[in-house]
Symmetry: C2
């Protein structure tokens, strides 16, 4: 059983993940981990993952057998588990509790595709529906307070498996970083009687310096205070606090914007490592109507080092205006996936 431990100075919890238990000797082989072995996530290898939680699959196919196009399984080495006791315990100055939570993997294709941008719009829609289904199901466990959906692509960005996948970690606290965003949004609303992200959308459209592209329901832009080169934010034009509020026509549009934002990035820098982070309202905490959900795409071209670890400040060597211009102008050379040959998007 993993363990949550609270830092005795700041209100931040850490997961001591014994399930992934690395003994000191394990790190000596750190460079050999990327050996090319058979892929656990490819169709036909269903037995190599824990049993599926849900899958979108063809009629008359069987659980944990081929015939699916999106498949969600528990992480084989989960950082957290739904078992255990969510009671905090004390030991002198320290606090800890069982590693309660959930850790799931969304396998985004039955094929060994590496980039989400190599998928069709339709397939990305299915992935978004899977995120939504899992989020709605997990929040039934009222111990869980936040559901973090994210995606790591490339070893530098923390992906240990190549096959395109995203992850979901549900935690029994509202993380401080999420609380900070909520408080910032509340504070702005208090001062201006409006939503800061709604106002950002308005200003970005009118200045037109950092927009990557616009669609019917979303805008994608490089944020004014980008922490990372080519960082992008995708935000719905409509004020929604929780991404599960997405309507069907928005899902379609979100899929299109998401895939094409990534395509622009990978067209510009091949095999670029990146993280995708979905920011949405906490669950089981009362509805946080002030929140405006959004998704961040974070390319990992710079390294978080001592300065960032000490201060929380980031140094970004590429102004977002230059990043956005480059992304807008990128000729979208499409790396054709095995199954998919798609239209070139009509943006810009």
């Amino acid at each position: 059983m993993s363990e949550w431990r609270k830092d005795p100075i700041v209100n931040r919890w850490v997961i001591i993940a014994t399930e992934r238990g690395k003994r000191p000797n394990d790190y000596k082989e750190i460079n050999d981990e990327k050996s090319s072995r058979e892929c656990f996530f490819c169709e036909g290898n269903e037995a190599q993952t824990p049993p599926e939680i849900i899958a979108y699959r063809e009629q008359d196919t069987v659980r944990d057998q081929p015939g699916w196009w999106v498949r969600v399984v528990p992480n084989k080495f989960p950082a957290l588990s739904i078992h255990g006791d969510a009671q905090q315990k004390n030991s002198g100055v320290y606090q800890y509790m069982d590693g309660v939570g959930a850790h799931e993997v969304i396998i985004e294709s039955n094929n060994h595709i590496i980039g989400m941008d190599e998928q069709t719009d339709q397939q990305v829609e299915e992935i978004i529906w899977a995120w939504r289904d899992r989020s709605l199901d997990l929040r039934k466990d009222t111990r869980l307070k936040y559901i973090q959906i994210f995606k790591n692509t490339g070893p530098v960005a923390g992906a240990s498996l190549e096959h395109t996948h995203s992850q979901l970690v549900a935690v029994p606290f509202v993380p401080e970083d999420v609380r900070e965003k909520i408080e910032g949004m509340k504070e702005y609303r208090h001062q201006h009687q409006s939503c800061v992200l709604c106002d950002v959308i308005g200003q970005e459209i009118s200045e037109n310096k950092r927009i990557v592209f616009e669609s019917t329901h979303f805008i994608c832009f490089c944020p004014f205070a980008s922490r990372f080169p080519f960082e992008m934010t995708i935000v719905p034009r409509e004020h929604q606090f929780d991404f599960v509020q997405l309507r069907e026509e928005q899902v379609k549009d979100f899929a299109h914007v998401l895939r094409n934002s990534l395509r622009k990035l990978t067209s510009m820098i091949k095999n670029i490592p990146y993280n995708m982070v979905l920011h949405t309202a906490p669950v089981n905490q009362g509805e946080e109507h002030h929140f405006h959900w959004h998704l961040e795409i974070i390319p990992r071209l710079t390294i978080m080092a001592g300065f960032e670890l000490g201060t929380g400040y980031f140094i970004n060597p590429t102004p977002p205006e230059i990043a956005a211009q480059a992304l807008r102008e990128t000729v979208e050379v499409y790396h054709v996936g095995e199954k998919y040959e798609m239209e070139v998007p009509q943006y810009v």
Copy 2:
């Protein structure tokens, strides 16, 4: 001129560092940067750095010439500069200001030594004095509110040059992460009428599960809620809020503890990448007597990915009790530097 930009949602500033100005094309060569060229920091190459700010050097030697053992120069590609206007400006929903601050490099040896643990205790003392001298000098500029001293070793930890060096970045704000530590310490004192780190020292010594070693003036331990495998904290037993309060006998002891902590780490995992981060009280803000200064050694064996970026939570696969045991038991095989052959430390 670089620019500070404030995130419109949270109170966090970002440095848009135009001096290091990376255009989109610069990233395509990202893997070729580590070419083995002549070292700017070696003795004899003083002309290749900006003019020195201070150096500890032999009598009758000349500024920016050989004869030094520690040398401090401005960063050649500074993220921040003492020039410019510390006035915050508005542009609609956004705030920004000139990239005011300071960015210096402490060259820790005149020899091309890579690891701080390859130095003598005496040389590490000199480095600590240089940190202290620069911190005392920079705080005379009352616009500066925090002085972050840190060290990156190894490319994975963000070091772009091999030659052993640390850095100092002085910023015109108290970073949110620093404020969070201060508030946590104040809150604890309010509740318990004592300092949380003083209490942590007491508990660590009495439990004796996470101690790496103890000296007269310091303890080194793997923190209860370690975010990283083999993370270590070095803390003075005496409650001091600002590291410049260090007395001469403490500097000697700190140097010994610091060098030997690193030696344990590098003996266990050769060429381990790590960051060192000094946490001390802000400056020009009234004295923060609640603070208890400390230094963190952060090995970079895990990757901060989407989950960490979204929540601020970390997943650590190696419990600190196991890490501390391994570090305690490590046979300290000393990689002999060119000039230095030292006693094996007597700890454990």
